[in-house]
Structure formats: C-alpha cells, structure tokens
C-alpha cells in the first residue's frame, strides 16, 4: 500500500499541519519509505510475538498517593500569551 494524496491530506489535518501543494510529492515519497520499513513487521515469523509496550526491559515505578506539588500558578502563567482571573486564555473554541 502506498499513501494517496487524499490520505496525506487527512493525516496532515489530524496533526494540524498545513501541507503546501508543492511539498506533497516529496512528503508522499518520504512517508511511503517509512511505511515500507514498517511493513517489515508483517513478517509472518513475528505473528506469535506479543507486542512490546516499551523498548526498555523495566517496569513502571509507582509513586505514593500524596500531594507534593504546591500552587505555582503565578510562575506557570508567566509563560502564557494571555491569562485572566487565573485562567489561561485561548482563541475561542466551539464544539
């Protein structure tokens, strides 16, 4: 399978990336190259293997359930383009 132009546009939209028409061919060729690599996973010899959730052979460390973070609102808001009444302000979103 190779990626069509329509599929490329769909993926770009899902990732909220604007793809200029003149990039389309180059991108398609790059992505198809990546897909070819991934296609090696279709090798039937891999069928019996359990999918790996993580490349490291370690398990998740758990944290005790206690509150360790204090209110850092002022500091964290400093980096925001806009804020008011303790809220981050973003361009209006309507669902």
């Amino acid at each position: 399978m190779s990626l069509t132009n329509d599929q490329l546009q769909t993926v770009a939209h899902l990732a909220r990336i604007a793809v200029e028409p003149e990039w389309t061919e180059a991108l398609r060729s790059d992505i198809n190259g990546i897909l070819d690599q991934a296609r090696r996973l279709d090798d039937p010899r891999l069928n019996d293997l359990e999918p790996m959730a993580h490349p490291l052979d370690q398990v998740q460390r758990l944290r005790p359930d206690s509150v360790t973070e204090t209110d850092q609102r002022e500091t964290l808001m400093d980096g925001a383009p806009a804020h008011e009444q303790g809220l981050f302000l973003v361009p209006k979103v309507i669902e």
Binding site: T10, H13, L14, R16, P51, A53, H54, L56, Q58, V59, Q60, R61, L62, R63, P64, D65, S66, V67, T68, E69, D71, Q72, R73, L76, M77, A82, E84, Q85, G86, L87, F88, L89, V90, P91, K92, V93, I94, E95
Partner: protein, 489 residues
C-alpha cells in the same frame, strides 16, 4: 414513572461507558492535588500543563483503586498493563493527547447483576463488563466571554479516571439505569469515587441502537453524552430510542454520531459525526513503562474489599428477614445502608420497623428537602430513639410521625418532644376503659346493632374512642378493651 414503552417489533441494544473519577489525593501522573473547588489552575503543575521535559510518574493509589473495582466485579486484574496516547487537539488537553490504556487495560471482564421491576415483574439481568481502564481527565473550558476568548482551567487535568465499558447487554432504559446505579453504588462502597454526578465525578455515556426484533445484526448506534443524573440517563435513552425508530420507520437512516442530551428541552442534539473524530492515532506511551502487579499485591487488595451491595442485601434478608426488594433499596447506596445499620444497631431494634421508616418517612423527607441521606436532619441515632418509643408503646406510629416531623424541623430529643407536646400514648388500661365505657353509654343504638351481628360497627367504636383520646390511645389496648366490653364483660 415514565410512560415510555419500546414499540413492538423493535429491539433496543444499549451499552454504557462510565467515567468514574478516582478519589485519590493526588493526580494520576503528578503530585498536584485533586481536591474539588480550588481557585482555577491552583492545582495544575508542570506535568499537568504538559510542559516540555516533564515525565509522568504513575500514582500507586490509582492502580489500587482501579484494581479494587475489578476485584469487586469478579474481573481479571492484568498482571501487566500499559498506557497509550490518544491524540486529539483541544485546549483543555494541553499535551495534545490523553494518556489512557487501549491495548492492555488494568481490568478485563467481570460482570454486574441488576434487578429491575418489583414483585412479580422483578427480573435479574447480568451485564458483562468488557474492561475498565485507567486514564487521565482533561481540564475545563469556560466559554463565557473573555473578550471573545476561551478560559482554560487545568485543575481537573490529570485527575485519575477509570472508564468502565460494558458489553451491549442492556435491552431497555430501566436495565441501563439499574446498571449505572449499581456501578455507582459499587464505587462508593469501595470508597474509590465520591459518585457526585453534578460535579462530574461520575459520568455516563450511553451507546444506543435499535434493530427489528429477531435481527442478528446490530443497528447503527449513537453515543449520548452530557447526562448528569440517572433520571436524565433514562430520558436521554428513551428519546434516542424514539428518535431512531421514527427515523427508520419513515425510511430514513441512523447516522453514527455523538449526541448531547439537553435536559431543558429533553432531547438529544448532534454534537459530531464519526467521520474523522475516531482517528485518534493511538500508540504506546513512550514515557510510561509497563505496569506490573504481582499476585501478593492483588491478594492484599482483595482483603481490603468491604461488604458489597449484593452481599449486604443477602445478609439483610437472612439476618433481618427483609424482603429482597427492601434489602435492595436499603443497600442501593452505601450512605443509605450505613444509616439503616446505625438505626438497627440499637439494642432490641426491630429491623422491619426500621426498614419501613428509612424507606418511608426518611425517604419522603429527603425527597422533600432534596437532600442526601448523609445530611438528613434526623440522624440515625434520633430515629433509633424514636423507634424505641414506638416499640415500647409510648408512641403509636401516627404519633411517631409527628415526633419525626418535629425532629426534622427543630431538632431536639425524642423524649423532650413527646413531653413538650403531650404526645404520650395512653396505654393505661383504666383510662382506656373509662373512655370505652363513655362511648358505649353514649351510643346505645349502635351497641345493640353490633351485638345483633353488625360486626362492621367495631370500627365505628374504635373511631369514637380514638376521638375521645385525641388519637393518643394505644390502638391495641383500645381494641382489647372494646372487644371485652362489647361482648358484655
């Protein structure tokens, strides 16, 4: 009671997705507090904001609570589970993805048994649970006017949730509501969720489809969101069933979509169709390692399980001789069961009497005040005092209700109210005999008719004596004395 009925010839298929906020102190991946009602963004740390360079560390409490739920419904607890990223763009999800469990959830399988209907119409149904997985909640968007912008509060971002997914095993709205109520009761019994639907701690989405009776193939389903009470859940499902059947009967078709329930207009509205919304591009979260739980830990959690609603209801039947229906009502929430148990804990308490009062007077009072049993103005120990006075004959049931109302309105002690209002029941045989004699003397005609075989007049005499006693005579004593006197003793 609603007038809804599924039109004949149609079968309804319902599955529920329930999000329950876990009652941990801190968030699922950060040490920020989860307490409700703080100043906006005062409980959102760098991890919750998704700032670059931060790493999530999983909360042991969230894993434990999710597992407790699994153990309570006889599910499999995954020895190894893992986290995935569900990608979508929305400003209250600052990372651009929700960390959740798609491929290997912590809880797999299990089931919940529900009873619908009453008496002869009662039926039991087992609803299978597909899975319950851990995930993080999003923040909140406030769409009031901030100069044409949207305000974002990330206090809720990163609050641990379990999403409990059922199989499409429910066939009518009653079963769906009964299942949701049962899950609600279980999480509260376990103490893993406060169950507050208004504040969004317990959220129910319903997948609804219809098909002609006898069809094997499932119809196209819609998902109804924004249901914040059990009553609205019932109404939303009913509306959706009617809407879909209307569409299909008039030659239309159901479009797979997410719909929002609007309680003010009692209808569902299209929120989004499924065209692109479903492409979440899940992949394993590289920031989190597989979560491993060993048998020993699971057994230690199992030992923590409290008595759950079904076991409690069975015990109420065997220990207190209550009916299955009464036992079901009293165990339907942990708070109700605790209240009832506090009342019957009183030495010599009559459990059946206590059950009737909790389901009758107490329920009616709470309904009238629109309050929860935990905030009942007549606490359990006061009701126990009151029932003691009914059991020892000081109060009739009727006078008991008067004392109950007084307790609800002004508080105070049961004995003080009885004293202050002169409500003490007259059980003194001499006093009752005197009243009976007066009534008999004043109604010679009726006495003759009664003695001549008009048994029904007995009630008339009881009424007359009670009137004379201003309702305070012990009814049993009145009956006894009247019977004797009328027989000519």
């Amino acid at each position: 009671m609603s007038q809804f009925a599924i039109p004949s010839g149609w079968e309804v298929v319902i599955g529920l997705e329930i999000h329950a906020q876990l009652a941990t102190r801190s968030k699922i991946f950060s040490g920020a507090s989860t307490a409700f009602g703080a100043e906006p963004n005062a409980q959102a740390c760098a991890v919750d904001l998704g700032l670059p360079g931060v790493l999530p560390v999983l909360n042991e409490g969230a894993v434990r609570m999710a597992s407790l739920f699994g153990l309570a419904i006889d599910a499999e607890i995954s020895r190894v589970s893992s986290f995935d990223r569900k990608n979508y763009f929305y400003p209250d999800l600052p990372k651009g993805y929700q960390t959740t469990q798609l491929a290997r959830p912590i809880v797999v399988g299990g089931s919940v048994t529900v009873t619908t209907g009453e008496g002869k119409k009662a039926g039991e149904h087992t609803i299978r649970v597909t899975r319950a997985h851990l995930e993080e909640d999003a923040g909140k968007s406030l769409h009031e006017d901030f100069h044409g912008m949207t305000g974002i509060d990330l206090n809720r971002a990163g609050t641990p949730l379990i999403e409990i997914v059922s199989e499409p095993d429910m066939r009518n709205p009653e079963q769906a509501v009964a299942y949701a109520r049962k899950v609600h009761a279980i999480v509260q019994y376990l103490g893993i969720c406060d169950g507050n639907m208004q504040e969004g701690s317990f959220r129910v989405d319903a997948n609804v489809s219809v098909r002609p009776e006898g069809d094997e193939k499932l119809g196209t389903r819609t998902e109804v969101k924004n249901v914040n009470s059990f009553r609205f859940l019932q109404r939303a499902i009913e509306f959706e069933i009617e809407r879909q059947i209307d569409l299909l009967e008039t030659g239309g078709e159901v479009v797979q979509a997410t719909r929002l329930y609007d309680p003010d207009r009692d209808e569902t509205r299209l929120m989004r169709t499924k065209e692109e919304a479903d492409d979440y591009r899940y992949f394993p979260c590289p920031d989190l390692l597989p979560v491993v739980v060993d048998d020993e830990t699971i057994e230690s959690w199992r030992a923590e399980l409290p008595e759950l609603p079904d076991a409690k209801a069975e015990r109420y039947q065997s220990e207190y001789g209550l009916s299955a229906y009464d036992a079901g009502v009293l165990t339907s929430s942990r708070a109700t069961a605790e209240y009832f148990e506090a009342v019957v804990a009183r030495e010599g308490a009559d459990a059946k009497l206590a059950a009737n009062w909790v389901m009758g007077e107490v329920a009616a009072l709470l309904n009238r005040l629109e309050c929860e049993i935990g905030a009942c103005p007549v606490p359990a120990d006061k009701l126990a005092d009151l029932l003691e006075r009914i059991a020892d004959g000081t109060l009739s049931n009727k006078l008991g209700r008067e004392v109950f109302e007084a307790l609800a309105e002004q508080g105070g002690s049961v004995d003080e109210i009885i004293e202050a209002r002169g409500l003490k029941q007259i059980s003194d045989t001499g006093a009752i005999e005197a009243m009976v004699d007066e009534v008999i003397a004043a109604n010679p005609g009726q006495v003759e008719a009664y003695r001549g075989g008009k048994d029904k007049l007995f009630g008339f005499f009881v009424g007359q004596v009670m009137k004379a006693a201003k309702g305070k005579a012990n009814p049993q004593a009145v009956n006894d004395v009247l019977k004797r006197r009328l027989a000519g003793d």
